[in-house]
Symmetry: C2
């Protein structure tokens, strides 16, 4: 039988075990004791943020940057509700964020005490401390409320598993009096290794892709949000090299394709793409493998994406669509692994590998910086392994002219589009990828305002 440890320590040990090294948040009356346990776990650091909304944004950015869940700790009511817009953004863009809420103690909840932060009673009817939980529920994939120390380890593990598996936020409610209670360490030796279930239609989808590549003369790979989030980059690059396809990405698909590779074709945004990009994809290609599609307005040139189902296979984290036929619950990681097992190493001779012509602007960079020249100016500052984050606004669209160096990350909220998202993230990258092998600097270059 293994020794017990305090629940708070168990929680942070588990988070650290899956690769989390930083905990964001704001202290408050009902999470103070919980936060003490951050310091019981070697390798875990506390990053206080100036308010909870910024903390939620930072946790979101940490997850995008590191690939492991971002964690934010808030206090009951005033903290948790202030974070909700950030959690909702993570939910909309499938970012794994764990929101830990330090709640009022169990006795106060049971006895409906009018503790500060708690809801109003309604005349003679007592208040209900769990009212606030209902506000989080529609904004995340799972919630767990710890109440029984015997069940808590399993609940914590399940929440971490689900958040990592689905790349969606989860909320963990921890009553303040639970934090120091002893819980079993038995689970600590079991690794949390989330995986998507293997679907029997996987081979059918993979075969359709293999057949299409075998015939196609102008194949194209188009990466989108879910390719980024589920890290399909290595698989994507192997497919490009073996098929001769040119690779494109949407705004939300950036970072899922190596833009320094000679087969990178550019950023696709429907009819608002750079001249040549939409032609290469929509008109000139005879097969499109669309990895992780997310056809939302800002990410598809205002819904101007025009790709015929007859030449389109979509693979995705949660489904596939083969020439118009849907396959529910087929995971693209499994599909692409099957494809790569059978895909010939050599590009077929009939493939036209000539570079599609794209009008990539090349403005003179003298004089004042303008909206037109800015992306090119920014590009000059970028070094391998850098992270570029754009605020919701005009620059997001100009950023298609930013040339990303090797292994760079680029992200912005093209779908949820919460203005204010970028600034709190500026403090995240140096922490989240300090040990990145290719990173040469950790300086931060800030640009927030719009230019004429």
């Amino acid at each position: 039988m293994s020794a017990d440890i305090p629940l708070g320590t168990y929680l942070f040990k588990r988070l650290n075990q899956v690769g989390i090294e930083h905990i964001f948040g704001v202290p408050g009356d009902f999470n103070l004791k919980l936060l003490d346990h951050v310091y019981n776990v070697e390798g875990l650091k506390w990053v206080g943020t100036c308010n909870e909304l910024n903390g939620a944004y930072a946790a979101d950015g940490y997850a995008r940057e590191s690939g492991v869940p971002g964690v934010i700790v808030t206090t009951y009511a005033v903290g948790e509700l202030s974070a909700l817009n950030g959690i909702s953004g993570a939910n909309a863009e499938n970012v794994p964020v764990i929101h830990i809420v330090g709640q009022s103690p169990r006795f106060a909840q049971d006895e409906h005490v009018l503790l500060h932060h708690s809801p109003a009673p309604h005349g003679l009817r007592p208040n209900d401390h769990s009212d606030y939980e209902k506000a989080s529920e529609p904004l995340c994939c799972t919630t767990e409320k710890l109440w029984d120390p015997k069940k808590a380890p399993e609940q914590i593990d399940n929440l971490i598993y689900k958040v990592m598996q689905l790349k969606e936020p989860g909320t963990l409610f921890v009553p303040a009096d639970m934090v120091s209670l002893p819980v079993s360490t038995a689970n600590l030796s079991k690794k949390i290794a989330p995986a998507m279930p293997f679907h029997p239609s996987t081979d059918e989808v993979a075969q359709a892709i293999l057949d299409a590549f075998a015939k196609a003369k102008r194949p194209v790979v188009l990466n989108d949000l879910f390719a980024t989030r589920f890290n399909m980059k290595e698989r994507t690059m192997q497919i490009l090299e073996r098929t001769g396809a040119y690779g494109y990405c949407t705004f939300l698909g950036r970072s899922s394709i190596e833009e320094t590779h000679p087969q990178f074709g550019g950023v696709y945004n429907g009819q608002v793409s750079l001249k040549g990009v939409s032609k290469a994809i929509e008109e000139d290609s005879d097969f499109i493998l669309n990895i992780g599609a997310h056809v939302s307005d800002f990410n598809s040139g205002g819904m101007s994406r025009t790709i015929d189902d007859s030449k389109l296979i979509i693979v995705h984290a949660f489904y596939a669509r083969v020439f118009g036929k849907n396959y529910d619950n087929v995971f693209f990681g499994h599909v692409l692994d099957r494809v790569l097992q059978q895909l010939p190493v050599k590009v077929p001779a009939h493939v036209d590998t000539s570079k599609p012509k794209v009008d990539f602007p090349n403005p003179e960079l003298k004089g004042k910086i303008t909206q037109l020249t800015l992306p090119h100016v920014i590009s000059k500052f970028l070094t391998p392994g850098d992270t570029l984050i754009a605020e919701t606004g005009t620059f997001q669209y100009g950023s298609r002219c930013c040339s990303l160096p090797k292994d760079a990350l680029y992200f912005a909220q093209y779908y949820y589009s919460s203005i204010g998202f970028a600034l709190p993230l500026l403090s995240v990258p140096p922490w989240a990828r300090l040990s990145h092998p290719i990173r040469t600097s950790v300086s931060t270059l800030l640009r927030v305002t719009d230019l004429p």
Copy 2:
């Protein structure tokens, strides 16, 4: 038959009719057209706030200051969710706030379009634009979603009525495409005049109060949150004058009693009151009329209020409690009106009207300002009709030593206690009570930081 006007204009006309002169909020894609209609209503002004949380706080402060609902307009998702903590605070402390959310247009909701700000689809399952509404529902007394222009005027009127009646927030969801649709003006001639239903037990409660005052030698009136919110001040002062009772208030009951009146006894906070106050109430009194009780931790000296049921009558907006016996749904406005109809004008001869001894500190105000001297220093700046707002923190408690001048307002979030509440309110009072007859200045004196 009356002519139609655009729905947006109807909404703002109705708000203006109940006395609202300022609309707070932040523009966003889905409320821009709605905001244009603010300018169609003479006497209505737009007050942009730097973010939605501050906007919600400002609307809350506007309501506390003016007595009419505070209004905040936000945009779909990113705006509405950022405001939730402020709405929740209004809900916890019974402040009438109307949260108007400009939503995605109806066709986009019907067709589950992946419009920016909207929720994620789940694989092949479409998104649901109404997910975010579920986050607001537990945090307000009522929500209305406008969808049919024929029903919209009634829905708007009902929401305003309920918010004003219960002094709780309500949320109005307005799809962006609804704003310009013509609606009937028929209701505009009907006044929205919220009232609480008259309960048949009203007379029984009133009689118990009359009997108790007739016998009591040391009667006390103790005002609390609901006395402030439902404006029981005039009734309270009449009762003090006719009964000879001394009047006290909790922190949340301030502004519901005239503190310059010779029968004002001080601020009661359980065992943490100034020396003499709790003795006068808990020990020396033989009858306590508690108007609008709200026994929450910070408002009762950490639940140290000790008042025996045998000498206590509570009247409240939503119930009464007479020597331990509860009466549901009895409204204190009706009760106190009945009491005043029958209460003798002259103080009974047997009442001991000698002033209870309270140790009110009188520190020397030389040298550095300290936590001890600050309330006294602040008091010197206050002029009649002023509004004093304390941030959640230490000064809240020191403020019991602030002497409020005639007709002053004082408030702070003693129950919900969201740190950050006070600052955004500093811009509110000059607007909300510009025309106040007794106000002599509209300057703002700011104090946010804590002192040693």
